[in-house]
């Protein structure tokens, strides 16, 4: 079922791309500010900023869960008609949300990895550059773990909404 959740995610191209990009940006910014916070460069601003980013990630996850369940109510109702339990549908929805965050995480890792490689290369040249690594791996992993924990709230919201989807909706005419 997890593999099918990935399939469904990838086929929802627009929503998937938009949310992946937002998650990527958010993971990067949160990691960046955590990194600065660890280095003591942000002073008193560190904790409020990080909390704002985590709050945004919570809002985003809830929004994504809401969109996935509400926009596809007829699909989930049809799935209930053909024998899916609430748990089956929740696995699909949760998988779609989780996969999107995971892709955002890997994009951030990939970008930072290439950035670090470029810095390593440029620092070996005679060019007088003062480039430093933007974010360490630690804050990125820390951020991603928190983001995934925050998604438990989204899974809960999705579950509550999935419970409310009545299979009879599938039998009604479109627009009825």
């Amino acid at each position: 079922m997890w593999r099918k959740a990935i399939l469904l995610s990838l086929r929802e191209k627009k929503v998937f791309i938009v949310f992946t990009l937002i998650y990527t940006t958010l993971i990067f910014l949160t990691s960046f500010f955590i990194n600065l916070g660890f280095q003591g460069d942000l002073g008193d601003l560190a904790i409020p900023l990080i909390l704002i980013f985590f709050g945004t990630s919570l809002f985003l996850s809830l929004l994504y869960a809401w969109i996935l369940v509400s926009r596809k109510r007829r699909v989930w109702a049809t799935f209930k008609c053909i024998g899916y339990t609430n748990k089956n549908i929740l696995v699909l929805v949760s998988g779609m949300i989780f996969f999107t965050t995971l892709v955002g995480f890997f994009i951030v890792i990939e970008v930072l990895f290439h950035y670090a490689a470029a810095i390593a290369y440029l620092n070996q040249t005679d060019l007088d550059l003062t480039l430093t690594i933007l974010v360490d791996l630690g804050p990125v992993i820390f951020t991603s773990v928190i983001f995934i924990v925050v998604q438990l709230f989204a899974f809960y919201l999705a579950y509550r909404k999935v419970l409310k989807v009545r299979p009879i909706i599938a039998l009604k005419k479109v627009g009825e």
């Binding site: 079922m1 099918k4 399939l7 469904l8 086929r11 929802e12 007829r74 699909v75 049809t78 799935f79 209930k80 008609c81 053909i82 024998g83 899916y84 339990t85 609430n86 089956n88 299979p167 009879i168 599938a170 039998l171 005419k173 479109v174």
Partner: protein
Amino acid sequence: MSADKDIMIEAIDVNKEYRRAGAIIRALADVNLRIKSGEFVVVQGPTGCGKSTLLNVLSGLDLPDSGRIIFDGENIARATEDRLSKLRRQKIGFVFQDFNLVNTLTAIENVEAVLWPTVLRQKEIENRAISALRDVDLLDRKDHYPAQMSGGEKQRCGIARAIIHRPRVILADEATGNLDPESEKQTMALIKKINQDTDTTIIFVTHRDLSRYGTKTIRMDKGRITKIQ
């Protein structure tokens, strides 16, 4: 519980009311019905006569206010939601008026989706989907998305989805309602063939006169069964 092993579905003193805009609508009134295994039952009647409500309670999608629904020997009128899901997954196939295919999945994926929650391996699921699509003569369109198919093809895909798990009963709610006359004829012939070849019980709800395809016709009006022939 019915002692007759040939009885697939039995409704006993079933009542169902709805409240709409303050008024109480009696959707099913003292409905008693026996459907034998392998029958092709056409449920006919005007809009609002209760035929879709009957389909809903017979399949466990909706619960009656009173009475019993015996489905393959089991009273489902008070069954849990999980039990009803399992029952539908194992014994019931649905064909919808609006096809209800997932637009982002191909024809074969739509058919396979029924078996995703089961323990079957992907290869077995794929083989069954191919077999179901072949049965409805849609194998050449297996990689097409619903938007790339005609109404008749979408409905054949919907029928393939309804038969992939080899159900005991297929329930169709106005399944030809969105089709042109030619596609309707083909769809009805296909459902009739499934009924004859596999002995699957068919309950076909419609407001049109399609009784010629059935082995039994139930006429409804104002929530009551007025005639069974």
